[in-house]
C-alpha cells in the first residue's frame, strides 16, 4: 500500500513541476543587467534603486553597483534613483537580454529637485529591517567634537545605537557590547575602531563611499558577531578626473588624492590623516627640557582598482592606523636615551575580484588580511648597556571569501557564499632583553590559532504582491585547539505590505560569536584582549526577534518606522572578581623563570544577557529643513553566576531613554559666485550609565572553629574593613544632555569647492558625567565627586577644500 501511495505522490509532484516549468516556458523572459555609477567620478553606487511602476517591482544594486532584473517581454518605464542624485527615468523595451549601465548626476541644489527621490517610498517595501545607511554628505554636516567628522558618532545619533562614555566613539547596539559589532572596511575586520581611547574613530570620512549599520534581521551572509554589522566601503577612486580634497581642523589635518591611472579603466585613491599637536610642541619641549613626548594618531587609506574587461574588475585596498603615546629622555651622554611608548593600531588589506559570469550571476572573490596590535615598550640605552622590555597583544587574520549573487527568476534573488579565516592570537607576549643581567632574559609568547568558516545561502522570495520573504541559513564552524564547533544559524525575515507605502516587518536571527573581547572595567587603556573560544570557554550565542512598522510619505519627504526587539545572549564573558588584564603577576615579573603563564580562561566567568526595547525613527529627507528624530526605550540585564551573587544586574551602558534630534537647515544653497550657508543643530539626551558605587565598609564576620576560639574571640574577621559594593552597577550617573550647532559656508568654483565650518560642541556647557570618584574633604568626610570632561562649550573651526581637474 505504501508503494502505491509513494508512486502516486511522486507522479503528482512530477506533474506539478512540469506544469510549472511549462507555464514559465510559455512566458518569455529576458534579463536586463548592468552597473549604476556616479557620472562625476565613475564610483559604483551601492543600493541604487531601480523601479518599474507598471509592475510595482524592482531591485537594487549590490555592494559592487551591479543589478539584474528578469522581466517578461514588454515595454516599461525604468526609474533609477539614489540619495543625493537626480532620478533618471527611461523607456525600456524588453525583447532580448540587454545590458544597461547608468550614470547618475549628483543633485546640485534643492531647487533642482523636480522628482522627489522615490527611493524613500520603497523603504517600506524592502524586507530588510533594522538597518541604517549613512552617506558621506550626512556625516560631513553633523557638528562633532573638535570639528572631527566621525562615522561612528553619527551612527550613535540613530535609535538602537548607544554611545559609551563622554566623547567615546564606541557603539553599543541593542544592549550588546562593543566586541559584538562586526566592523568591516572593504570586507576586512577592524578589531579596534577607535583613536585616543575612543574619542575618535579610525575612519577617515574623505575615503568612505558609504556605510551601513545592521542591528537585526541579519542576512545569512553576515556572521561572527552578535549585535551589529557595520559595513563600510571605501571609495574606488575617481576614474574620470584627478581630484584632491582635504581639511584642516583644530587637532588634525587630512588630505585625499584620487584619480584615473587609465581613464575609465583604472583608478586609485590615497588618503592620509594625522594629528599635529605633538609636532608643534616638539621644538618647545626639546629646547626647554631634556626630552620630548606627546601623542598622535594617524590613518592611511589606499585603494587601486582596475577594470580588466566588461565582466571583470580587480580591487586592492588597504588601511594603516596607529595611536602612540611616547616619551623620550636624553642623558648627558649622546648614547644615553630612554624611550617609553604605548601604542596600538590596525592594519587591513583586501584583494577582490568581481566577475559577472552572465546576466543573472555575479561573483565576488576576496583575499583578506587584518592585524591589530597593542604594544607597551620601554627601551633604555646607557652606553653599552641596553634594556628592552616589550609587552604586546595581537590578533592577526588571513581569510578568503566568495560571494555569489544569482537571480534565476524574478521571484527569487539568491545569494550564497563561503568564508574562511585563520586567526592567530597572541594574547600576551612578554620579551625582556637586559644586557646587564642576561640570565633574566626571557621571551614568553603565547600563541593560539583557530580557523573560522561560514557557508551560507539566502533567498529574497516574492510571494505575490504583498508578501516578501527572506529566509536564509548560515552554517558556521570554528576550530581551536582540540575543539571544533559547528552550528547552524537560521535567519528569517518577512515583509507584509499594508498599503502602497506602509508595511509590517518581522525578523528572527540566530548568531554565534567565536571570539571574545576581555575588557577591563577598571582601566581606561586600550588593553582589551581578543581571545578565541576553545574547549574551556565556549562561544557566545544569541537569538533576536524583531517586529516593525514602516510608513513612507514621499510627497512630504517623510518616513516613519518603529521597531520592537527582544534579544537573548548566552556565553558572554567578563573578568572574574580579582582578575587582572595583565594576565601576569607583576611581582613575578623579574622571576628568574620569567612571569608565570596565566591562562586567560581562568580569569573569566560566563553569563547571559537579556535585552529588549522599542525604537522610533521619524525622518524628513528633503527640504529647507530636514533631519531626523530618534528615540529608544530599552533595558539590558546581565547575569553571571559568579558576579553579583548570581542575581541579574543592569549592563553598564543600559540606558532607559535615548533621544537624538538632528536638524539640517539649507539656509542658502551654494551656486557659482554665491556663498552657500548650511546649518545644523543636534540635541541628544540619554539616561546615565550604571556604575558600581561602594556603599560603605564593614567588618566581615567569620565564625572560627567552635570550641577552639582564639582568645575568646568566636568570630575571626579580616581585622580591617571590607568594602560593601552593594549590587553590581547599582548607581546611575546623571543624565547626558548636549546641544551642538554648526554653520557651514560653502563657496563653489568651477572645479571645486571650499567649506569653512564653525561649530560649537556642547553649546549649553552641560557638565555631563565622565566618571565618579570617592574623595575626602578637609574634614575627612567622604564625598562623591563627578568629573566632567567637556564641561564648557568647545568651539572649533575647520576648513575643507576640494578641487578636481577642470575638463
Amino acid at each position: 500500500m505504501f508503494q502505491h501511495l509513494f508512486h502516486f505522490k511522486f507522479r503528482v509532484l512530477i506533474l506539478l513541476w512540469l506544469g510549472w516549468t511549462n507555464a514559465h516556458a510559455q512566458i518569455q523572459r529576458f534579463t536586463v543587467s548592468g552597473f549604476v555609477r556616479d557620472a562625476a567620478n565613475g564610483e559604483m553606487l551601492v543600493g541604487a534603486s531601480l523601479w518599474l511602476p507598471e509592475i510595482q517591482s524592482g531591485t537594487s544594486t549590490n555592494a559592487y553597483g551591479f543589478y539584474s532584473m528578469t522581466l517578461p517581454r514588454g515595454t516599461y518605464t525604468l526609474q533609477v534613483s539614489y540619495v543625493g542624485f537626480q532620478t533618471r527615468s527611461l523607456r525600456l523595451d524588453v525583447d532580448s537580454n540587454r545590458k544597461f549601465n547608468f550614470e547618475m548626476d549628483p543633485l546640485k541644489d534643492l531647487q533642482e529637485i523636480e522628482v522627489v527621490d522615490d527611493r524613500i517610498s520603497r523603504q517600506a517595501r524592502e524586507v530588510q529591517m533594522s538597518k541604517i545607511e549613512l552617506t558621506p554628505q550626512q556625516i560631513q554636516q553633523i557638528p562633532m567634537l573638535f570639528g572631527e567628522k566621525d562615522l561612528l558618532k553619527t551612527f550613535q545619533l540613530m535609535p538602537g545605537v548607544q554611545k559609551g562614555n563622554e566623547g567615546s566613539s564606541g557603539i553599543y547596539v541593542r544592549g550588546g557590547g562593543p566586541d559584538q559589532n562586526l566592523i568591516l572596511l572593504d570586507e576586512a575586520t577592524v578589531y579596534n575602531a577607535s583613536h585616543l581611547f575612543g574619542f575618535f574613530s579610525v575612519f577617515n570620512g574623505n575615503a568612505i563611499k558609504n556605510a551601513s549599520l545592521t542591528k537585526g534581521g541579519f542576512p545569512a551572509r553576515y556572521g561572527g558577531r552578535l549585535s551589529s554589522v557595520l559595513d563600510i566601503s571605501m571609495k574606488d577612486g575617481n576614474n574620470r578626473d584627478w581630484c584632491t580634497e582635504g581639511s584642516i581642523g583644530n587637532i588634525s589635518a587630512n588630505v585625499t588624492v584620487e584619480g584615473p591611472l587609465i581613464k575609465n579603466k583604472a583608478s586609485m585613491l590615497v588618503s592620509g590623516r594625522r594629528t599635529y599637536l605633538d609636532l608643534l610642541t616638539a621644538p618647545l619641549l626639546l629646547s626647554s627640557t631634556d626630552g620630548l613626548g606627546g601623542y598622535f594618531f594617524q590613518d592611511f587609506n589606499a585603494k587601486f582598482n582596475y577594470q580588466l574587461d566588461d565582466r571583470n574588475r580587480l580591487y586592492l585596498s588597504g588601511y594603516l592606523g596607529q595611536d602612540k603615546f611616547y616619551a623620550t629622555t636624553f642623558g648627558s651622554n649622546p648614547l644615553e636615551r630612554t624611550t617609553a611608548s604605548l601604542g596600538w593600531g590596525n592594519k587591513t588589506g583586501t584583494l577582490r575580484w568581481n566577475h559577472q559570469a552572465n546576466s543573472r550571476t555575479f561573483i565576488n572573490s576576496s583575499l583578506i588580511l587584518s592585524d591589530y596590535t597593542f604594544l607597551i615598550q620601554l627601551k633604555s640605552n646607557e652606553g653599552l648597556e641596553t634594556f628592552d622590555l616589550k609587552y604586546n597583544s595581537t590578533i592577526r587574520d588571513v581569510g578568503v571569501k566568495v560571494d555569489l549573487d544569482w537571480l534565476p527568476v524574478p521571484e527569487h534573488k539568491i545569494k550564497a557564499g563561503f568564508q574562511s579565516t585563520r586567526h592567530t592570537f597572541i594574547p600576551t607576549a612578554f620579551v625582556l632583553k637586559n644586557s646587564t643581567a642576561p640570565d633574566f632574559n626571557f621571551d614568553r609568547v603565547a600563541r593560539e590559532y583557530s580557523l573560522e568558516s561560514g557557508l551560507y545561502v539566502e533567498d529574497e522570495w516574492s510571494l505575490g504582491d504583498r508578501w516578501l520573504l527572506h529566509p536564509g541559513l548560515r552554517v558556521s564552524t570554528f576550530a581551536a585547539g582540540t575543539k571544533t564547533y559547528a552550528r547552524p544559524e537560521p535567519r528569517l525575515a518577512a515583509r507584509y505590505l499594508l498599503g502602497n507605502n506602509q508595511s509590517l516587518k518581522v525578523a528572527y536571527t540566530e548568531m554565534n560569536q567565536y571570539l571574545h573581547l576581555l575588557s577591563n572595567s577598571g582601566t581606561g587603556l586600550p588593553t582589551d584582549l581578543w581571545v578565541p573560544a576553545n574547549e574551556k570557554v565556549g562561544p557566545q550565542f544569541s537569538r533576536q526577534a524583531a517586529l516593525g512598522y514602516s510608513l513612507d510619505k514621499p510627497r512630504r519627504s517623510l518616513s516613519f518606522s518603529t521597531e520592537a526587539y527582544y534579544k537573548t545572549t548566552q556565553g558572554n564573558i567578563a573578568y572574574r572578581p580579582g582578575a587582572s588584564f595583565l594576565l601576569i603577576d607583576p611581582e613575578e615579573l623579574f622571576n628568574e623563570n620569567g612571569p608565570p603563564k596565566v591562562q586567560w580562561e581562568e580569569q573569566v566567568v560566563s553569563g547571559s544577557m537579556v535585552s529588549y526595547g522599542l525604537e522610533i525613527l521619524l525622518q524628513k529627507h528633503h527640504g529647507l529643513w530636514n533631519g531626523w528624530l530618534g528615540y529608544t526605550w530599552s533595558k539590558t540585564d546581565l547575569r553571571f553566576e559568579e558576579l553579583n551573587g548570581g542575581l541579574p544586574f543592569p549592563a553598564r551602558y543600559d540606558r532607559r531613554h535615548d533621544l537624538s534630534w538632528v536638524n539640517f537647515f539649507d539656509i542658502r544653497p551654494p551656486k557659482l559666485g554665491r556663498k552657500g550657508i548650511k546649518g545644523s543643530a543636534v540635541f541628544v539626551y540619554g539616561t546615565g550609565n550604571a556604575v558600581t558605587l561602594p556603599q560603605g565598609t564593614f567588618n566581615a564576620p567569620i565564625l572560627g572553629i567552635p570550641g577552639f576560639e582564639n582568645n575568646n574571640n568566636i568570630f575571626f574577621g579580616p581585622g580591617w574593613n571590607s568594602t560593601d559594593y552593594g549590587a553590581q552597577n547599582n548607581y546611575r550617573l546623571r543624565s547626558y544632555q548636549r546641544v551642538d550647532l554648526s554653520l557651514q559656508f560653502t563657496r563653489r568654483t568651477r572645479c571645486g569647492e571650499r567649506v569653512t565650518e564653525l561649530s560649537a560642541y556642547n553649546l549649553l556647557s552641560r557638565a555631563n558625567p565622565w566618571f565618579i570618584q570617592v574623595e575626602s574633604d578637609r574634614f575627612g568626610r567622604n564625598r562623591l565627586v563627578q568629573y566632567s570632561l567637556f564641561a564648557f562649550v568647545i568651539p572649533s573651526i575647520s576648513w575643507r577644500f576640494k578641487f578636481c581637474q577642470c575638463s
Binding site: P577, T697, P701, I797
Partner: protein
C-alpha cells in the same frame, strides 16, 4: 578698534574677524567650567550579621550554644556609624523548619543573651534530652530586629553529608640538629552525599591546628588568617570520582636551645558548608587579595542577609586527629 576694523577692512579679512568674534563670544559667554561637581548622596548604615550553625558529625563535640555577631556598616556618605562594636539590645528569633513540614512550637528559638565581653549574642541549642536544635537537612529562618528598629532576615539549610574513606597523611621533615620542622598534611575524603541539587554541588572548608608545641598557641588555628581562606576552601571542581583532596604545608621554627616537645597532635576540622557561606568566604578572601590593585576587577561580597550584610550560613563538621612524630 578691532570692531571698526571688522567693518572697514577688506571683505575676506572682515569675515575672519567677525568669525573670530563669534567663536570668542560663544566661548566666553558660556564658559562656566564645572569639571568637578559634588553629588549629594546619603547612604544608610546597614546591619551586619554573622552566624554559622554548626552540626558536629560526632555528637560528643556538639556545641551547647550558637553564636551570632551583630554590628553595622559605616556608610561612605552621610551620617557616619560606628562599625567596630557590636549592637546590643536586638531581638532575635530563629525558626527551624523540617523538610515538608510546618514549624511547630518546639521549632522556635527566641531566647538569646548578649555577651558584653565578647560582644556576641548566644543561645542554648542543646535540649534537655541531649538533642541539638541544629539538625541536618533542616532549614533555619533567622530574623533580627535591632534596638533602633532596623530588621533583617535570612535563611540557611544545614547540609546533609555522608562520607567515607577519610584519611589523613602527615609528613614531618627536618632533623634534630636543625631548629625547623616542615609539616605537610594531606586529607582525603569520599563524599557519598553527592550534590544537593545544582545549587549545592559540594563545598568544603578545611582548617587545622597543631597542639603540644611551643611555637604556637594551642588554641589557635593555623590558617585562620584571611589570606589563607582561599587555601581553606574546597569545591567539587577538585574532586576525582567523588574523592576530595586537600593539602597544605606549614614550617615551624624554634630558637636554638629550646627543648623539642615529646608529643604533639595534629587536628583537622573538615566542614561541609552551605553555598552562601562558601561564596561569602571566597569573596572576602578575594577582596583581601586585591589589596588596592587598580588593574583588578572589584569583588562584591555576596550576602544572604536581606537588607543587610554578612552571612547566615551552616555546616556539618568532622574532626580528624593524629599524633605528630617530631
Amino acid at each position: 578698534m578691532f570692531l571698526m576694523l571688522s567693518f572697514t577692512a577688506p571683505r575676506s579679512f572682515a569675515f575672519v574677524i567677525r568669525t573670530g568674534y563669534l567663536v570668542l563670544g560663544l566661548f566666553l559667554g558660556s564658559c562656566r567650567p564645572q569639571f568637578l561637581d559634588t553629588v549629594d548622596l546619603e547612604l544608610p548604615s546597614k546591619l551586619v550579621v554573622g552566624c554559622n550553625l554548626v552540626l558536629e558529625s560526632d555528637p560528643i563535640f556538639q556545641n551547647d550554644s550558637l553564636f551570632l555577631k551583630l554590628n553595622q556598616s559605616a556608610p561612605l556618605f552621610g551620617q557616619q556609624a560606628n562599625s567596630d562594636s557590636g549592637l546590643a539590645g536586638a531581638t532575635l528569633r530563629l525558626v527551624r523548619q523540617r523538610p515538608g513540614l510546618v514549624p511547630g512550637p518546639d521549632d522556635t528559638l527566641s531566647v538569646f543573651g548578649f555577651d558584653e565581653l565578647r560582644s556576641v549574642y548566644g543561645a542554648k541549642v542543646r535540649r534537655n534530652d541531649g538533642s541539638s536544635f541544629v539538625q541536618e537537612g533542616f532549614t533555619y529562618h533567622l530574623s533580627v530586629r535591632s534596638a533602633d528598629g532596623r530588621s533583617v532576615e535570612s535563611s540557611t539549610t544545614v547540609p546533609v553529608w555522608r562520607f567515607s574513606d577519610t584519611t589523613m597523611q602527615v609528613l614531618v621533615q627536618g632533623s634534630p640538629s636543625t631548629w625547623t620542622r616542615s609539616v605537610q598534611i594531606r586529607v582525603q575524603w569520599r563524599d557519598l552525599t553527592g550534590a544537593n541539587g545544582s545549587q549545592d554541588p559540594g563545598y568544603y572548608r578545611v582548617n587545622y591546628r597543631i597542639t603540644g608545641n611551643p611555637w604556637f598557641d594551642e588554641d589557635r588555628w593555623l590558617n585562620d588568617h584571611m589570606g589563607w581562606y582561599p587555601n581553606q576552601l574546597v569545591n567539587v571542581g577538585t574532586a576525582v570520582n567523588g574523592l576530595f583532596t586537600w593539602q597544605d604545608r606549614v614550617d615551624l621554627s624554634m630558637m636554638p636551645g629550646d627543648t623539642m616537645p615529646s608529643n604533639g597532635r595534629l587536628e583537622v576540622a573538615i566542614q561541609r558548608i552551605s553555598p552562601e557561606l562558601f561564596r561569602y568566604l571566597r569573596a572576602v578572601g578575594q577582596q583581601d587579595a586585591q589589596d588596592g590593585n587598580p588593574f583588578s576587577e572589584p569583588t562584591v561580597i555576596p550576602s544572604n542577609i536581606s537588607n543587610g550584610l554578612g552571612c547566615f550560613g551552616s555546616c556539618v563538621q568532622f574532626r580528624l586527629s593524629k599524633p605528630l612524630p617530631w
